[in-house]
Symmetry: C2
Subunit: 227 residues, 2 copies
């Protein structure tokens, strides 16, 4: 479902050029559960943003579901982002003025789901991450880990084909982290493809394979023992 060939990403500002990705190639099959690990600054979020169609590579090819992403129209890209992809950002990106139900409803805005049904789905998803008693709150009235859970709920509410999660348990205590990983495991068993970035080995163990990155390249791929 995902094929990357010699992907490069360079950031330029004036004279300074930062090579964030230096030739990344791999393939991910449908319904795989992949973890990505690597040092701070090794290119994990940059890679995730390109995979999630939020950014473009400087060179190289990215095929999603067999289609060349660079040749998709803006409308096609928007449809893919909205319908097929769920993204949990490392820094959450919640809208500060909306309460958490309305934040979680956002991905459903362009779907053909009725507002009442959308609201119900958002509330259900928030209940699944144990936030049913905070529905009227806005993000800055919540703890770091509560905001992280809202970001997770929002990524899952449209039941996307592929879930990209960038450090989804970074602000969560061990018990809550296990609850979130059990939720991901359940979604994986139901058919979803999951790609998650983590720096914690115990979290990476929930995946089938672990891609190790260093300095913008893939260093090795490990296969986990089946659970």
């Amino acid at each position: 479902i995902i094929e990357l060939e010699a992907l490069r990403k360079e950031y330029r500002s004036g004279e300074i050029s930062v090579a964030a990705l230096q030739g990344v190639s791999f393939a991910i099959a449908e319904n795989e559960f992949i973890a990505i690990m690597g040092p701070s600054g090794s290119g994990k979020s940059t890679l995730m943003n390109i995979l999630g169609c939020l950014d473009q590579p400087t060179s190289g090819r990215y095929r999603l579901g067999g289609r060349e992403v660079s040749s998709m129209s803006d409308d096609e890209l928007a449809a893919v982002r909205n319908r097929d992809i769920g993204f949990v950002f490392q820094s959450f990106h919640l809208l500060p003025r909306l309460n958490i139900v309305r934040n979680v409803m956002l991905p459903l805005k362009y779907s053909d789901i009725e507002p009442a049904e959308a609201r119900q789905r958002a509330c259900d998803m928030l209940a699944r991450v144990n936030l049913e008693n905070r529905l009227e709150h806005v993000p800055n009235e919540l703890s770091g880990g509560q905001r992280q859970r809202v970001a997770i709920a929002r990524a899952l509410v449209n039941r996307p084909k592929i879930i990209f999660a960038d450090e989804p348990t970074g602000n969560l205590d061990s018990k809550t982290s296990v609850e979130i990983m059990e939720l991901f495991t359940e979604l994986h068993r139901a058919g979803q493809t999951i790609i998650l970035v983590t720096h914690e080995p115990e979290i990476a163990e929930y995946a089938q394979k672990v891609i190790h990155m260093r300095d913008g390249q893939i260093e090795k791929v490990e296969v986990n023992a089946p659970r």
Copy 2:
């Protein structure tokens, strides 16, 4: 150096009232290294904000260096915050339009240190967290873990008496986390008092004591084996 007596914090918005701290009492001696752990939403950041003089309790008493914080003037509070306290925020709070050197220099602005000296200290601190090759960058040109390290550098640059660090390794890979904890250990040996919130037991092990919180209260205090 820190004494808390029956501290309570309640957030009110209209009808809804959230009891974030429900009677917290403890004391921390000078040059202690304390970790605070607990489930997401248990009140850790709320407690840190009150200890760091960034917020006020609803009731109860907080004495810092023997002085009642609630009876300090605004000027005295500002002086304490600027000179005696260094704070690493769970969500970093870096200024987006300043490059990282100028972000790290901020706490020195009201000190009697010359700008050239302040700039040198900021660069040194950024080198200590391995960011010497990113000095001209602004926060959104950096990875999550790089921003976290800028937040750490900024908290340390004025050599504060007390360091409060709220999840300082949440976005860092294991190797970088160890480097940061070795830096904190070094500062502790040099006399600083350190209070850090973490959800990772391996990080809490660097401290002398671990305060466990649950539902806005202290559940228990563990003493670590000496390292």
